[in-house]
């Protein structure tokens, strides 16, 4: 035991140097970070230099200026508190709200729009200087642009804040209390106020309030799993047992739990200076990577901004060359930028993500950072912790061996189906031993609670045995009452057995019953007979052999095996009045009767194997990373399918072929179990090779730093890595991962802080639903973006044609903002509700560098196919309106100068009618409205075709997604409101459009639909063809 722990410890040391080596190789780009990390490493080492465990009580008193009996004085404590700060982990640094807000104000397209707004104002300023009665149009536009940026900024900020608040409320913990001796008095104070030198008392069930050097202890056991990942209880006493502070028994660590017993100790480290505090700060040193969706959106913003600015500048130059006034050219530039930038899109994306986040939260996946919603979908490797995530995190009886036969017990969550053969007399005896030789007890008052959910006082194995017997035998406490216990020897690590002697429930049988359980080999040593089918038989060589086979087999399953034996004390030697003494052991402890073996394991959750299979088919590699033993890890990996039934490790092959491990061809093995020890000797290249070559990998006995190394290794393979974990030791890896998922129930605060996501039910399969939602939202965002980008061409063309061909302006800048931020908003959100086209869990995860959110196909198809068709349709409406009013299309070309001239108040049209300047202006606005309506009508078709990318709309179902129809209704209602409701507000440039103009673009809309159905049809008919490659986005 001690030997093994030493290994873990040394592993951590080497891991630290590994990181350093790697960083050195990575170059000096991040010197500060490296320096910071190195400092942390140094501090970690300093911690290890701690010698408090070696000091005697007297020396400790001197060192910390305290008194073991009287404790610190309150004044001294207050001084120390002021000096060292409260005993709490510093929460990770929060970005100030104002910075978050400003970031929203300048992020994405905002900068571009700000520039546009400022240019507008400057242009007006110049116009105003030369002509004080200059039109206020550019002031309106500038103001509208500024309002748009501010509103979308506020909106995005609000969305972020809302999801952060959910987290904040979730993370609030009940303040912890500690029993401390100060001024010779026992006091209960908040654990935050503990200082170094305080004498504290701990009892079973408490969280250890600080790093504590124990001064005295009675049967104290602690759960170090959050620190080391081991689920076995570790006993603690006041003795100095190991040079290494992490190993010695007389130190307990902050945030671990005391399972049973009591202890008194002296606080030697508080807050961030505790060992857990140091690991937690290691996590905050790990940089926050950009989420894949953030990268995708940035990529998209770059594309669009690039197009906007270059088209804008190109036409600015053209306009200047065409002898336009520079101020006009600037206004064109702004208009082109505004037309190109999908102002509402980023807000839409935020809403879509938060909708998905809500949906995921309902499925027990609480996402802290909205962008992380999609990350889960692009995940290609999941590094899962074992305990609590894959397993139920409680010991459960898995197998029994009696009558020379192995029986399987039910390990599912409710455990009620114990179907093995219980008719044998051996089972009767065995069950009695299990029930009686057990100190665990149910917490009273929970009789109505299902057995498996009841709280038990006792360690994990005893709890398992108690629940097991309660399920099979019924009221165990009652059985114990009937079989009164006269003496007991609790389990200790030297004896490795537990024994008790009982009166029997049979009033005619005056014999005492001795029952014993413990390490199988120790129990066997004490036996001379064995019970088979209820009959005692001599324990001969063949029986001993059978025992060993069974023991090895169960041990090989990674299960913890216990042996059980009993002995009826002869009534003549041990009369009813006999006084048993546990100290002198005045009763026989040899030549007992061996009854059976029982093995326990922390069993996998029943939903996990299915979830792992789903991950497999979704192309996601599941890697187990645990602090637990390789055998247990491998057994669990096999039972949940992380190592599939027919794959073998190198060791398995060697064993099967009976050859040395070195002789095995490594390529033959699909699975690998790698321990921390082996990992520490690996170079990053070897790790890469390991990760690349084995589809099924289990890492066992790993340290926190090694988890980090594994995650980094996976990321070097271009994988998007999800990590799950609950312990403080997991937090650096959680932070480093592309998406870290902490356990909601068992997870430590540090883990939750470092994670991007919290699995509320601690269940691995929640991740799978998360992956599904994440993939769906990626697909749907593609649709949203394609939908939104399409109309950009229809918005852009009017300006280009206005500049080049001199038509009266077909659509105003403010009008098109009403498309981007009015009619298009709800429809683009509605696409987030679209169901998947096919089973998205049957395809590979997207390659984060190849499968972009916005690819060339999407841009080309949206801009040049549908976009151009839309532009044509909108122009059709525009020309119809002008023609009906008297201006034939041909007469409109190069009419601009006359049209825009304020002094020309009798411009003649094709019918011989004459128009004043204002009448033309009004007609121009009618044109804007018509163009706007034209785009709106075709966007309805665009919305419908975007429901699918490959399948026919009719296969997807037109009415399955009701929100789409809400979107379409909203488009029409907003347009009606703008035209008829706000048609009289000059600044908005809308007029009341005649009813018939609303229908001019309808045939075009239908054409768009038909065209897209054709596209999808050919994609389906000719997969892999030129068409498929270029038309599928």
């Amino acid at each position: 035991m001690r030997q093994r722990k030493l290994e873990i410890y040394s592993v951590e040391h080497h891991a630290a140097t590994d990181i350093k080596k790697k960083e050195g190789r990575d170059g000096k780009k991040d010197n500060d970070l490296e320096l910071k990390r190195n400092q942390q490493k140094e501090e970690l080492k300093k911690e290890l230099d701690l010698d408090d465990h070696k000091l005697s009580n007297k020396e400790l008193e001197t060192k910390y200026g305290t008194d073991i009996i009287r404790g610190l004085s309150s004044t001294r404590a207050a001084e120390l508190l002021a000096q060292n700060g409260p005993n709490a982990l510093t929460p990770p640094k929060q970005t100030p709200e104002i910075i978050k807000f400003l970031k929203q104000m300048v992020g994405g397209f905002s900068i571009l729009l700000w520039v546009g707004a400022v240019l507008c104002w400057i242009a007006f300023g110049i116009q105003y200087v030369s002509n004080p009665s200059a039109s206020l149009d550019s002031v309106y536009l500038g103001t509208v642009l500024a309002v748009v940026v501010i509103l979308t900024g506020i909106f995005a900020y609000y969305q972020e804040a809302k999801s952060t608040n959910i987290m904040a409320s979730f993370c609030k913990m009940i303040p912890q209390q500690a029993v401390v001796i100060r001024d010779s008095e026992k006091k209960v104070i908040p654990a935050e106020q503990l200082v170094v030198g305080d004498i504290v008392e701990i009892k079973g069930g408490d969280q250890i309030p600080a790093d504590i050097r124990l001064l005295s202890a009675q049967g104290c056991k602690v759960d170090n799993s959050s620190l080391t990942g081991e689920s076995e209880p570790q006993s603690r006493s006041s003795e100095f047992t190991h040079e290494n502070p992490l190993e010695t028994k007389n130190i307990t660590f902050y945030s671990t739990t005391c399972l049973e017993g009591t202890a008194t100790g002296m606080v030697i480290n508080t807050g961030d200076r505790t060992i857990i505090g140091r690991i937690a700060s290691l996590a905050s040193g790990v940089g926050n990577e950009k989420t894949p969706i953030a990268i995708e959106i940035e990529h998209f913003v770059h594309i669009v901004a690039g197009v906007a600015v270059s088209v804008g500048i190109l036409f600015f130059i053209i306009a200047v060359c065409m002898k336009y006034h520079v101020l006009d050219a600037i206004i064109f530039l702004i208009a082109i930028i505004v037309a190109n930038v999908p102002e509402g899109l980023l807000a839409t994306v935020t809403v879509a993500l938060s909708l998905t986040a809500k949906r995921m939260a309902k499925k027990n996946c609480l996402v802290k950072n909205l962008e992380a919603v999609e990350t889960l979908g692009s995940t290609s490797i999941i590094c899962s912790d074992k305990t609590g995530t894959l397993t139920q995190n409680r010991m459960t009886v898995a197998h029994l061996w009696f009558d020379n036969q192995i029986f399987v017990a039910d390990t599912s969550e409710d455990n009620l189906n114990q179907g093995f053969d219980q008719s044998s007399g051996t089972w009767t005896s065995l069950s009695k031993i299990i029930a009686l030789c057990n100190r665990a007890e149910f917490k009273p008052g929970e009789e109505s609670v299902p057995i498996m959910k009841r709280v038990v006082v006792g360690d994990a194995s005893e709890t398992a045995l108690l629940k097991f017997s309660e399920v099979i035998l019924g009221d165990v406490m009652e059985i114990r009452k009937r079989n009164h216990k006269v003496v007991e020897i609790p389990f200790n690590s030297t004896n490795k057995f537990q024994l008790s002697i009982h009166q029997t429930e049979d009033p005619n049988d005056k014999r005492f019953l001795l029952v014993m359980k413990g390490a199988p080999e120790r129990i066997l040593e004490k036996c001379s007979t064995i019970m088979i089918n209820g009959k005692e038989q001599p324990l001969d060589k063949s029986m001993a052999q059978a025992f060993h086979t069974a023991y090895m087999e169960l041990g090989g399953l990674g299960e913890r095996v216990l042996g059980f034996c009993h002995f009826y004390l002869p009534a003549d030697e041990f009369p009813e009045t006999y006084s048993f003494d546990s100290e002198s052991m005045n009763f026989p402890t040899s030549n007992l009767c061996f009854v059976g073996l029982l093995s326990m394991i922390d069993p996998p959750r029943s939903t996990v194997p299915d979830a792992v299979t789903k991950c497999r088919s979704a192309g996601i590699k599941v890697i187990m990373v645990t602090g637990d033993h390789p055998i247990t890890a491998k057994a669990i990996a096999k039972s949940v399918g992380i190592i599939s039934a027919n794959s073998e490790t190198v060791e398995d092959i060697a064993k099967r072929c009976n050859i040395a491990v070195e002789q095995v061809n490594k390529r033959d093995a699909k699975a690998a179990v790698v321990t921390g020890m082996e990992l520490k000797d690996m170079s990053p290249e070897q790790l890469d090779e390991l990760l690349a070559n084995y589809p099924e990998i289990v890492f066992a006995r790993t340290s926190p730093q090694q988890k980090l190394i594994i995650v980094e290794g996976c990321q070097r393979q271009d994988a998007v890595v999800a990590v799950t974990g609950d312990g403080v030791n997991d937090s650096p890896a959680l932070k480093k991962a592309d998406i870290g998922g902490a356990m909601g129930i068992t997870g430590s605060d540090a883990a939750k802080n470092a994670a991007d996501m919290i699995l509320l039910d601690d269940n691995f399969s929640s991740i799978v639903t998360g992956v599904e939602e994440g993939r769906l939202i990626f697909d749907n965002l593609k649709k949203t973006i394609a939908y939104t980008l399409t109309k950009n061409i229809a918005e852009l063309c009017p300006f280009l044609i206005y500049i080049i061909l001199g038509l009266p302006l077909p659509i105003g800048t403010i009008t098109l903002l009403f498309i981007d931020l009015g009619t298009d908003i709800i429809p683009s959100i509605a696409l987030a509700y679209e169901k998947a086209e096919s089973d998205i869990m049957n395809r590979k995860p997207r390659h984060k560098k190849k499968d972009r959110l916005v690819n060339q196909q999407l841009a080309v198809y949206s801009y040049l196919h549908i976009g151009l068709m839309q532009a044509l349709g909108a122009f059709l409406v525009y020309f119809t309106v002008y023609a009906q009013q008297g201006f034939r299309p041909t007469s409109l070309f190069h009419l601009r100068i006359a049209w825009d001239s304020d002094h020309l108040n009798d411009l003649e049209d094709n019918y011989g009618q004459e128009w004043t300047s204002y009448q033309r202006q009004y007609l121009e606005w009618t044109g804007y409205t018509a163009f706007f309506v034209g785009i709106m009508v075709q966007q309805i078709a665009d919305l419908i075709i975007r429901k699918t990318r490959k399948n026919s709309i009719f296969k997807q179902g037109l009415f399955r997604n009701k929100v789409i129809w809400v979107g379409i209704a909203s488009q029409i209602i907003v347009a009606l409101l703008l035209s008829y409701g706000l048609g009289s507000i000059t600044a908005l440039n809308f007029t009341m459009l005649k009813a018939q103009y609303w229908f001019v673009a309808v045939p075009h809309a239908i054409l768009i639909w038909v065209y897209d159905e054709m596209r999808k049809l050919f994609i389906r008919l000719y997969p892999g063809s030129w068409w498929d490659k270029n038309m599928y986005y």
Binding site: N905, D906, N910, Y911, Q913, S917, Y918, Q919
Partner: protein, 236 residues
């Protein structure tokens, strides 16, 4: 779109007419802004300002040429094919041939250019022609006339021709360039006569349509709707 299609399109639209109501103007299909705009001649280059000096012919030569050009279709010779229509009633026609009514130029009297080829400019009493924008189908009610008022009556007075600035209904409605060949829109001339005792020779004149309840002359946004304002500056 071919002509034929357009026609049928128009026909189907005509069906719409009966029940499509335009809430803005309370009118049915057709040109939305069914109101006269007024415009003046000579055509000003930028602002509506006429500056001239009676003693310097070159200062008003441009104006005179512009007026002559504008009045060319109104010469008797050009009008000889047009119909003489009865006064005071609308000339509503059913087609297929639409006739245009004569607008005898002598109606403009002193501003006709017949008696005074300089349109009063050489005498310091310049003529400005006021014209109604052509609008298809517009039928004025009542007795429309153009009334021109100087801003400051002490500086100048205005004579309008035809007398009272009357616009005869016989010129309406207009049936469009294609059908209504040779159509001449009625004109009103305003002659500015500066007072002899006024030293200031600068006046702003506002002309507007009056006497017809369905023709607006007041619109906040359109400064030419049923009215026009111009400025005359006569230098020494």
């Amino acid at each position: 779109m071919t002509k034929k299609e357009k026609k049928s399109f128009n026909q189907s639209l005509a069906e719409w007419k009966r029940f499509i109501y335009n809430p803005t103007s309370g009118e049915f299909l057709g040109r939305t802004a069914k109101s006269w705009g007024l415009m003046v001649f000579p055509k000003p280059l930028s602002a509506l300002e006429y500056t001239f000096s009676a003693s310097d012919p070159s200062s008003y030569r441009g104006y005179i040429e512009d007026l002559r050009k504008f009045l060319k279709p109104y010469t008797l010779e050009e009008q000889k094919n047009l119909t003489v229509c009865p006064d005071g009633i609308l000339s509503e026609q059913k087609g297929p041939v639409y006739v245009a009514c004569q607008f005898p130029i002598f109606l403009l009297q002193a501003c006709s250019g017949m008696s005074d080829p300089d349109f009063g400019y050489s005498q310091g009493s310049p003529c400005v022609l006021v014209k109604m924008n052509r609008i298809i189908g517009l039928k004025p009610e009542g007795t429309p006339r153009i009334e021109c008022i100087p801003k400051d009556e002490n500086v100048a007075s205005i004579s309008t021709y035809p007398n009272n600035g009357i616009i005869d209904l016989k010129y309406f409605p207009y049936y469009g360039k294609k059908l209504h060949v040779g159509y001449l829109q009625p004109l009103v001339a305003a002659q500015v006569i500066f007072s002899a005792n006024s030293t200031k020779k600068e006046v702003t004149v506002e002309c507007k349509i009056d006497g017809s309840p369905n023709l607006k002359n007041q619109d906040d946004r359109d400064k030419f709707l049923g009215r026009v304002a111009f400025k005359i500056i006569a230098r020494a």
